[in-house]
């Protein structure tokens, strides 16, 4: 049964990939959904056995690497972390499978799509169930590959191609960190199995065997891997671009599962991270910065999916941040909760996009609350859960994270960044809802008339995920957080995240309900000059309040800030300009032109051939055709020969 949880998705991937044409579109949908649903049931059983009955299971399958120094088995390990991850992966994946049947209907390549989704699920399960780093790496690379395939699913679109390549390459930067970490781990511990490493680490608390500095290096390298996969600050640029894939893909890969692999890696390597305070501090600080950065960016995005993508990035920052405070189970809890409400958000966003004929720009939506109230409800539940509204799922983990951060007084920086991100999270969630559903519509009439509620295949997963978003936190908190001691903080501090969230939501309403009506400046900042001029003419309230000249200054400052945030703090620009372009130039000028086509050519084939050709031309020019020249040469050389012979 334990192995079956792996095999069912693999089976469905193989069958729908290889025989998809035979069993047809509907058959593929039913088959893959059934297989993954069976996986869900099995993983529930595994959860029951390993967590509730607290009996972790280890399965050694067969020897894989078998040399003198390194013996690695294919092995499966089902402990509480794994089983919780399994629940998350399989349930979200099953719902996404069912959702895709409705969402992708009409697409000509459904078998391929379903096959990729199932393959992704399989590799993700391989990732979480492995009992050693190498097998984890199979899953790690595999989900990266599936991410590439799925982002690039509509492979005729050049933007999708580029986004897929970007995702693959940036992930690869992190993968190098993971590989180096594995090499270093093998160097230090002589093994790559979790159980052995962690038992050695428990010895090293006696400071006997393991070098502290190399632990720090290992942890930083592992964290580099997590940064790449979990889209932390610096290597996060692939995640917003990955929205080029179909929406179910974004929900499955870029919200619920693949990006959590980095966090999972940190949670899994928790005992290693415990050995290095420096690495933990780095993890916390970078996580907090990611949370804050992504939240600020999410506030001004206009693409419906990108807002949610940045919120994913922000929530991942929370998870990583709390990992750095050694509260791994809290991180895991937030991971689980986040998977449910983020999948809900993405899938309902997909439903919105589906409803208004594939329009993703929030500025061209609005007023959908009357026509699709069900989707509105779903997105509202997801958003409230995301912003940690009391007694919804997000509340149980998010507030706890902030309290735990506050408890570690030396890193108050992270606490305030996290709280501000909570405010911003609420702000952009409400902004999304407001712009999409509540405000006056901006879409064309024929589109607005065609808006409709999605089919049953889409409604069913949304409903289940909504239940998850409401109840999972309440159900899970006793199970997962059993070993977390709630920090003793004052009531005012406990209230801060909640107040911030409510304030953020309220602010969003105020800003968009009042100011937007007054001045279009919030909508179309690109044309702010024209609009300001227009407003001066119309004597708009905004400018009346601030005065004409200072209004212009405020407008230009606003424009600068808006552009800065809208372009995600110019990260893409900076990375492209300072890293990618220089490396590209270096590759072309130095390694290609100077070394490959330059030095090596000259001392290699081309230089030698040129010298020989010149030499032979010179020698053959001696044969001029003139008889007297021949005679002279013959005489000269005969003389030389004779004189040489006489010397000898």
């Amino acid at each position: 049964m334990y192995i079956l949880v792996l095999l069912m998705p693999l089976l469905s991937a193989i069958i729908s990939g290889l025989f998809g044409r035979k069993i047809g579109t509907k058959g593929v949908g039913v088959l893959t959904s059934t297989c993954i649903s069976i996986s869900v049931i099995i993983s529930s059983c595994i959860f029951y056995e390993t967590v509730l009955n607290s009996s972790p299971t280890y399965i050694k399958l067969w020897r894989w690497f078998d040399s003198d120094l390194l013996i690695t088995y294919f092995g499966l390990q089902f402990d509480s972390i794994t089983s919780i991850m399994l629940i998350v992966i399989t349930s979200v994946s099953a719902l996404v499978h069912i959702y895709s049947i409705g969402y992708m209907s009409g697409d000509p390549h459904i078998p391929r799509f379903m096959s990729y989704l199932s393959l992704f699920t399989f590799l993700m399960i391989v990732l979480v169930t492995s009992d050693n780093f190498i097998q984890l790496f199979i899953g790690w690379e595999g989900v990266g590959l599936c991410s590439y395939l799925l982002i690039n699913f509509w492979l005729t679109r050049i933007k999708a191609n580029k986004a897929a390549m970007k995702a693959m390459l940036i992930n690869r930067v992190g993968d190098i960190g993971l590989v180096l970490a594995m090499i270093k781990i093998f160097d230090e511990f002589g093994t790559l199995e979790f159980s052995t490493i962690y038992s050695i680490m428990s010895l090293s608390s006696l400071n006997l065997y393991i070098d502290k500095e190399s632990i720090t290096i290992i942890c930083l390298l592992l964290f580099l891997g997590a940064v790449g996969k979990s889209a932390q600050l610096g290597l996060h640029t692939w995640l917003p671009d990955a929205m080029e894939g179909p929406t179910p893909v974004s929900a499955l890969i870029h919200a619920a599962t693949m990006v959590t692999a980095g966090v999972f890696l940190i949670i899994r390597s928790g005992p290693l991270f415990e050995g290095s305070p420096l690495a933990l501090t780095v993890v916390t600080v970078l996580g907090a910065m990611t949370a804050f950065f992504a939240a600020t960016t999410g506030v001004v995005q206009n693409d419906l999916k990108k807002v949610i993508a940045y919120s994913t990035c922000s929530q991942l920052g929370y998870m990583v941040m709390v990992c750095g405070l050694s509260n791994y189970s809290t991180s895991l809890f937030h991971l689980m909760n986040h998977a449910f409400f983020k999948a809900l958000l993405f899938l309902s966003a997909g439903s919105v996009i589906h409803a208004i004929s594939d329009e993703q720009d929030m500025r061209k939506m609005g007023g959908l609350i009357k026509s699709i109230p069900f989707t509105y409800t779903m997105i509202l539940i997801g958003s409230l859960s995301l912003m940690g509204f009391p007694y919804l799922t997000g509340f149980y983990s998010k507030d706890l994270i902030l309290e735990l951060t506050y408890d570690k007084y030396y890193i108050a920086f992270a606490y305030w960044l996290g709280s501000l991100s909570a405010l911003l999270t609420a702000f952009y969630s409400m902004r999304l809802i407001y712009l999409t559903f509540i405000t006056n519509t901006n879409s064309k009439k024929e589109i607005l008339i065609g808006v409709h509620e999605p089919s049953l295949n889409i409604i069913f997963p949304l409903l289940l995920l909504a239940f998850g978003s409401i109840f999972v936190g309440y159900w899970g908190k006793e199970v997962i957080l059993s070993n977390v001691i709630p920090p003793i903080v004052s009531n005012s501090i406990k209230a801060v995240p909640l107040i911030f969230s409510l304030l953020g939501a309220f602010l969003a309403f105020v800003v968009y309900d009042r100011l937007v009506r007054v001045s279009n400046i919030w909508y179309y900042p690109i044309n702010y000059k024209k609009i300001i001029a227009q407003n001066i003419k119309n004597e708009g309230l905004f400018l009346n309040l601030t005065g004409g000249y200072s209004g212009r200054i405020i407008g230009s400052i606003y424009h600068m800030v808006y552009t800065f945030l809208n372009s995600a703090w110019q990260f893409n620009y900076v990375i492209n300009h300072f890293f990618v372009r220089n490396i590209w130039k270096f590759g072309h000028l130095i390694t290609y032109r100077v070394i490959d086509r330059g030095i090596l050519e000259v001392i290699g084939p081309r230089g030698i051939s040129r010298i020989f050709i010149k030499l032979t031309q010179f020698i053959s020019n001696l044969q001029s055709g003139m008889v007297f020249n021949y005679a002279l040469i013959m005489i000269v050389f005969t003389t030389l020969f004779l004189s040489g012979a006489s010397i000898l």
């Binding site: 020698i619 053959s620 001696l622 044969q623 001029s624 055709g625 003139m626 008889v627 007297f628 005679a631």
Partner: protein
């Protein structure tokens, strides 16, 4: 006495060589230079045969005379044939085969 004769022979030979090398106009001069070289060689053979009192040098001289006669006959024949084809006997125009 012997050295003067030897010098004359060698000078004659060098004159023949120079006649071949420096001559760019006439093929007949070239043949004549070859004859001159052969003559110088025969002369040296004769001198040496007298000096070391050995008959073999004179035998060689007679053979060289024979060879020279044959060679000039063949050379003149080639010259005539060449003249028939090209209409000139300038050495300068003998440059069709180049490396």
């Amino acid at each position: 006495m012997f050295y003067e004769y030897l010098t004359v022979g060698i000078i004659l030979f060098i004159l023949g060589v120079l006649g071949i090398v420096l001559n760019r106009s006439n093929l007949i001069i070239m043949l004549m230079s070859i004859e001159l070289m052969l003559l110088a060689i025969s002369f040296l053979f004769l001198i040496n045969s007298v000096v070391i009192d050995n008959l073999i040098g004179q035998i060689f001289t007679i053979m060289i005379l024979t060879v020279a006669a044959a060679e000039s006959a063949i050379g003149l024949a080639i010259l005539v044939a060449y003249y028939r084809v090209r209409g000139t006997i300038a050495v300068r125009s003998l440059n069709l085969l180049r490396g």
